[in-house]
Structure formats: structure tokens, C-alpha cells
């Protein structure tokens, strides 16, 4: 596997773990969006958006199609100009600079390999534009071919390559000019699942090894969480949340983010107490009380939702010690057996469904809990979050 060979040697752990310039007030942003708006006719693709991306960061723009993530990336590349606002790169205002004069390179979703040129010429294309001397071009192209392990394919035309090989040529071509920022537009969308997962790790290795800034656009949340240092979740031209993958998953700031990333159970209610850093939510319908440790986002009387991931919900046939707090009861409505885990869909008296994930730690086919069983669902005080939007 190519991924292994690339990362042979030291683990990337120390580099990745210590990297967090966004927490450092003295750190200078590398890419800056300042109140950027982009309209296409009546449609607002990007809406008064501000964003900082730091040098050597692997930054992911995540969202459903039409959320503006691709437009945002194309504004860095220079294919779109903002209607208003500024895009800065390394202290330089990019507005008005055409794409062919920007120190950024892009890897296209379709790869956009020039079909009338062979692999070598495709990779050399950008270098030739800079008027680099021929021997240097040759050296650089060979270096790139070695980097993506395609030395033997230099003379092939794009249509003589497999999907994975094309993807690597596209990557080599966009890296050849040593851009200040590498933009990746759904770079792995055309690969099958297995190859995609392999390539994700290759990308991380490359990014750390080359010490470059990568910005990736994707609609695949797993991909974003695997590769990125930080993720910006977008919706309708706005950024809903920017945070590390773990923060996005464990502390989503809104129902939108909670729902977009992974699976989530939502219980609607009102905040009846916020004493001692613990918010109490009285659920609508069931009247169940939920207590959650929180840092003061929700205020007394707020209309709010308790959000808890299915894997943080415990399912049991016997009632807990205190069934009035952080517990609901219902009947098993359906069970989805996924091999590694099973997801239980439990229907509450209100008609709402709560999901609980059970890890299948034994090979037993017969599970102790089955259809129509009356069950109790419980969670801990730090298992979920309270969301007010």
C-alpha cells in the first residue's frame, strides 16, 4: 500500500498533536476572508463571511451541495471574485489578481488532466508556464513522479490510467509548483471507498511532510474528520461552526452541525435551571428531566434541545436508580444490525424515536434485548450538549 510507504518511519503524532495556531492570539492568519459576499444574480452563494486559515493547516470546508463551500475555494483560486469583501493570502490582497498569477494550485474534482498530454507533460505544464529552465523542470517532474509513485507511467496519456493513478497525477501536477496553498476540490470523490480511505492518510502524510497549507472542500464528513486539523461547517453561504473534528463532533454549536456530522438524538424542551454549571431541561411531552454539564450557553427559560449521540446512550431492560433524571423509557421499534454495532430505535410514548448504539462485543446472534421489549435509555451528565439553535 502506497500510504504505508509514504509514512514509513516516524509517527506524525507529535507534529499533529502540538499544532493549534488558531488558539494562539499572536499567530498571523495565512488566508483571510474579510466580510466576503458573493452573489450570482439573485442567489447569494457566500454571505458576509469572515474566516482565518493558518499556515501549514489542513483546513476542511464541509457542507451539503450548494452551501457555498466550492465558491469559497474558487475565490482563493481566483475563478470567482467576491462581490464585496477581501480575500487575503499571506498579507496580500488577492482581489483582482487573475488565477494564473496566484500562488495557489488546485486539484480538481474531475482531475482535469489534459487529455492530449502525457503524465510527464501534465506535471510539467505549470513549471513551463513559469519559464523554469528545462533541466530544473525535468528534475522537479521526476521528483513529483517519485512522490506519487508513478515513475513508470510518465509517458502514458490520462486515458491510459486507472482512477487512482489519475488522482495521483492530478495531485502531483498541483504540487509541482510548490504552491503556498493547495486547494483540493472533492479530491477523492471518484475513488471507491477503500482506495479513498487509503488516500486520505496519504494526503495527511504529504501535507505534514511538505509543510504546506491544504484547503479541502468535501461533502463527506468522515473524510473531513479524517484529514483536517479544523473543519468549517457551512450552510447557505455562512459558516455555522469552525472547530477541530473532535469539537465539531462532541460539542456541536447547533442542531444543524449536530445533525450534519454523525447521528444525533434531539430532545426538545425548556431550560428550568442553570445552577452550578448544570443545565436542566424539561422535555416537551414526556416531562423527562435532562441534566447536562454546560459552560453557560443556555439561559433560564430558553427553548432548547438536548443532543446526545446514539453511542452515548445506554440501553437496559431494567429501570435506572433514579428514573426521573437523564432517562427515558419506550419500546424497541427496530434494530439495525451493522456487524460491528447494532442501532436500536426506541419509540417513546410521545411517538419520538431515540437511537442507541450497542457495540457487538460478542459473536452471540441472539441479543438479550429484542423487538417490542420495554427498555430504559440512560446517559451521563457529560454525554450530550444543550443547544439553543
Amino acid at each position: 500500500m502506497a500510504g504505508k510507504s509514504l509514512s514509513a518511519g516516524k509517527s506524525l503524532g507529535p507534529i499533529r498533536r502540538a499544532f493549534a495556531p488558531w488558539n494562539d492570539p499572536a499567530a498571523k492568519p495565512f488566508i483571510q476572508f474579510q466580510n466576503v459576499t458573493k452573489n450570482f444574480g439573485d442567489f447569494t452563494a457566500v454571505d458576509d463571511l469572515s474566516l482565518n486559515i493558518y499556515e501549514r493547516e489542513f483546513f476542511a470546508l464541509l457542507g451539503p451541495s450548494g452551501c457555498g463551500k466550492t465558491t469559497l475555494m474558487r475565490m482563493i483560486a481566483g475563478f470567482e471574485e467576491p462581490t464585496s469583501g477581501h480575500v487575503m493570502l499571506d498579507g496580500q490582497d488577492l482581489v483582482g489578481v487573475p488565477p494564473y498569477r496566484r500562488p495557489t494550485n488546485m486539484m480538481f474534482q474531475s482531475y482535469a488532466l489534459f487529455p492530449h498530454m502525457n503524465v510527464w507533460d501534465n506535471i510539467a505544464f505549470g513549471l513551463k508556464q513559469d519559464g523554469m529552465p528545462k533541466p530544473e523542470i525535468a528534475a522537479r517532474v521526476d521528483e513529483m513522479l517519485a512522490l506519487v509513485k508513478l515513475e513508470k507511467f510518465a509517458k502514458r496519456k490520462p486515458h491510459q490510467l486507472s482512477g487512482g493513478q489519475k488522482q495521483r497525477v492530478a495531485l502531483a501536477r498541483s504540487l509541482a509548483k510548490k504552491p503556498k496553498v493547495l486547494l483540493l476540490d472533492e479530491p477523492l470523490g471518484a475513488l471507491d471507498k477503500k482506495l479513498r480511505e487509503e488516500t486520505q492518510f496519504e494526503l495527511i502524510d504529504l501535507q505534514v511532510k511538505l509543510g504546506m497549507t491544504f484547503v479541502i472542500v468535501t461533502h463527506d464528513q468522515e473524510e473531513a474528520m479524517t484529514v483536517a486539523d479544523r473543519i468549517a461547517v457551512m450552510d447557505q453561504g455562512k459558516i455555522v461552526q469552525i472547530a477541530t473534528p473532535a469539537e465539531i463532533y462532541e460539542q456541536p454549536n447547533s442542531r444543524y452541525v449536530a445533525d450534519f456530522i454523525g447521528d444525533i438524538n434531539l430532545l426538545e424542551g425548556h431550560i428550568s435551571s442553570t445552577e452550578g454549571g448544570v443545565a436542566t431541561l424539561d422535555c416537551v411531552g414526556t416531562g423527562a428531566k435532562v441534566q447536562v454539564i454546560q459552560d453557560g450557553g443556555a439561559k433560564l427559560g430558553d427553548h432548547a434541545w438536548f443532543a446526545v449521540r446514539p453511542e452515548k446512550v445506554t440501553i437496559s431492560l431494567t429501570p435506572p436508580a433514579d428514573p426521573s433524571i437523564n432517562a427515558v423509557t419506550g419500546e424497541v421499534w427496530d434494530i439495525a444490525y451493522l456487524g460491528d454495532v447494532s442501532i436500536y430505535h426506541v419509540r417513546l410514548a410521545t411517538g419520538a424515536t431515540v437511537k442507541a448504539t450497542i457495540t457487538n462485543t460478542t459473536r452471540l446472534v441472539e441479543r438479550p434485548i429484542t423487538w417490542d421489549d420495554k427498555v430504559w435509555l440512560t446517559w451521563s451528565r457529560d454525554g450530550g450538549v444543550v443547544l439553543t439553535r
Binding site: 483560486a77 481566483g78 475563478f79 487573475p98 488565477p99 494564473y100 498569477r101 496566484r102 495557489t104 494550485n105 488546485m106 480538481f108 474534482q109 474531475s110 482535469a112 488532466l113 489534459f114 487529455p115 492530449h116 505544464f125 505549470g126 508556464q129 513559469d130 496519456k157 486515458h159 491510459q160 490510467l161 486507472s162 493513478q165 501536477r173 498541483s174 509548483k177
Partner: protein
């Protein structure tokens, strides 16, 4: 649904192609007829081809026709390609509807109208009629055909190829010549060939716009046809058909061979060879 062999499909194709080709085949066959009477077979002969060579009027007309066709096809290809780019890439510009209207109208406009209109223009501006008016008229109607052919290729053109070139530092003008043009070249060549044959074949527009000393081959053929069918005309027609057929057949064989090679390469790539 069943592919291929249904009797209905086979019959339709067979009868259809017989209808399309029988008249042409008969014309070609009778060009080798020794008898002066076109419809009476008098044995095989190539004498009509030989007699063509001594027909100075016909040779002059052929020379005019070829010069007009080469010149007009080349200019029409340049203009038509520009028009196609304008149509596909700059969708909305002031007067865009008028522009696309002017590109599509000549495709169906009855030739008598186009011919008359152009003649009246040349008369109005006092342009002496002859070789140049003929060429200008041919450029104008054939550029629209080129535009349609190139346009249909540009519509399916993957724009990200051009964006990739720009992204790698290639300015727009150079991008057009290093990326776009090589990739749409087959359509541009097809457009040129179409413009060439349209010019070669045109009778009506030429009759209106030409002047003394610039008689084209179709005009010559037409004036002789009105006098009756002769084996000599059959011979000229056969030559013209042969020229066009050779061009089209070569072009289609080249495309087909490329396509086959491409498919083979793609299969090999998928197998990971």
C-alpha cells in the same frame, strides 16, 4: 428491447439506404457509359473523363470553385469558431439574442433570399461583383455551419481543463491555444470540411453574387443540365462525389480508429496493466 435483427429495422434501413444511394450509384455507373445516350448502355468507357480535360470552360470553373472554397472555408472556420465561443462561453451579452439569431438563421434560410440580399448589398455599396463577392457570400453562410459544429463540441467541453491551465499559471490567451484549441480541433476540422463542401456545392447564392469571369462549377453544371443529361456531366458529378466521399470516409476512419484505440487503452488501464 431487442437489438439489431428485427425484420422491421433491417427492412427500414435497407430500403432507406437503397433510396438514398441508388440514384447516385446509377449516376456514377452511367458516367462510364460509352454511349452518348445517357440511358442506353453502350459498354464501359472512360472517354467522358478524358473529354473533360479538354473542356477549358469547365476547368476554369473548377479552378475558380476550388479557390473560392479554400479561401472561404478557411476564413469561415476562423469566424465560425469565434462565433461558437461567443455563443457558448459569453451566453449573455448585449444583443446576444440577435447574435444567436444571425448565426442560426442562415442554416435554414432559403438560399434565394440570402443570395438576393447579398447581391443587393454588393450593388448598394458599389462592390464589383466577381471572385471576391462570391467569397464573401460563401464565408457568411458557411461560417454559421462551422459555428454550429464547433458549438456542439464546446458545449460538452470540460471547463475545468481550462481552469486547471489558468490555475497552473497559463494566461487565458495561451490557454486557448495550448488547451482549448487542440481539444476542439476535430470539430474545427469537421467545420472546415463542411464549409469547404458547402462552398464547392453552392449554386443559388453563387448565381446571385457572382459576376463576370467568376463562374463556378455548379453554375456550369446547372446551365448544362438545363439543356439535358449528358455523360460528361455524369463524369464531373462522379469526380465531385469521389472527392467528397474520400474526404468523409478518411475522416470517419481516422476518428473510428482513434476511438477504438482509446477504448482499448481505457480497458487496459482499468485492468491495471
Amino acid at each position: 428491447m431487442r437489438r439489431g435483427g428485427s425484420w422491421f429495422n433491417v427492412t427500414a434501413i435497407t430500403l432507406g439506404f437503397a433510396f438514398l444511394y441508388l440514384p447516385i450509384v446509377l449516376l456514377v455507373v452511367y458516367s462510364f457509359n460509352a454511349s452518348k445516350l445517357v440511358t442506353v448502355w453502350g459498354g464501359f468507357s472512360t472517354k467522358w473523363y478524358v473529354s473533360l480535360l479538354s473542356n477549358q470552360g469547365l476547368l476554369d470553373a473548377a479552378w475558380v470553385t476550388i479557390r473560392v472554397a479554400l479561401l472561404s472555408a478557411t476564413l469561415a472556420t476562423v469566424l465560425g469558431t469565434l462565433a461558437a465561443i461567443a455563443l457558448v462561453r459569453f451566453g449573455r451579452f448585449p444583443g446576444g439574442t440577435l447574435f444567436s439569431g444571425m448565426v442560426y438563421a442562415p442554416l435554414v434560410m432559403p438560399e434565394v433570399i440570402t443570395g438576393l440580399a447579398m447581391l443587393l448589398l454588393f450593388v448598394a455599396i458599389g462592390f464589383a461583383r466577381g471572385f471576391w463577392t462570391l467569397t464573401l457570400a460563401h464565408i457568411t453562410f458557411s461560417m454559421c455551419f462551422v459555428a454550429v459544429v464547433v458549438q456542439s463540441r464546446l458545449v460538452t467541453f470540460d471547463r475545468s481543463l481550462e481552469e486547471a491551465a489558468l490555475d497552473l499559471g497559463c494566461p487565458p490567451f495561451r490557454t486557448f491555444f495550448t488547451i482549448t484549441l487542440p481539444l476542439i480541433l476535430p470539430a474545427v476540422v469537421a467545420g472546415w470540411m463542411l464549409a469547404f463542401t458547402l462552398s464547392l456545392d453552392d449554386l443559388v447564392i453563387s448565381s446571385f453574387t457572382t459576376g463576370p469571369g467568376a463562374t463556378t462549377l455548379p453554375m456550369k453544371i446547372y446551365s448544362q443540365v438545363r439543356l439535358g443529361v449528358t455523360p460528361e456531366i455524369n463524369a464531373i458529378c462522379t469526380i465531385l462525389i469521389a472527392i467528397v466521399a474520400t474526404g468523409v470516409i478518411i475522416a470517419s476512419i481516422v476518428t473510428k480508429r482513434r476511438e477504438v484505440e482509446r477504448q482499448r487503452a481505457e480497458r487496459l488501464a482499468i485492468q491495471g496493466v
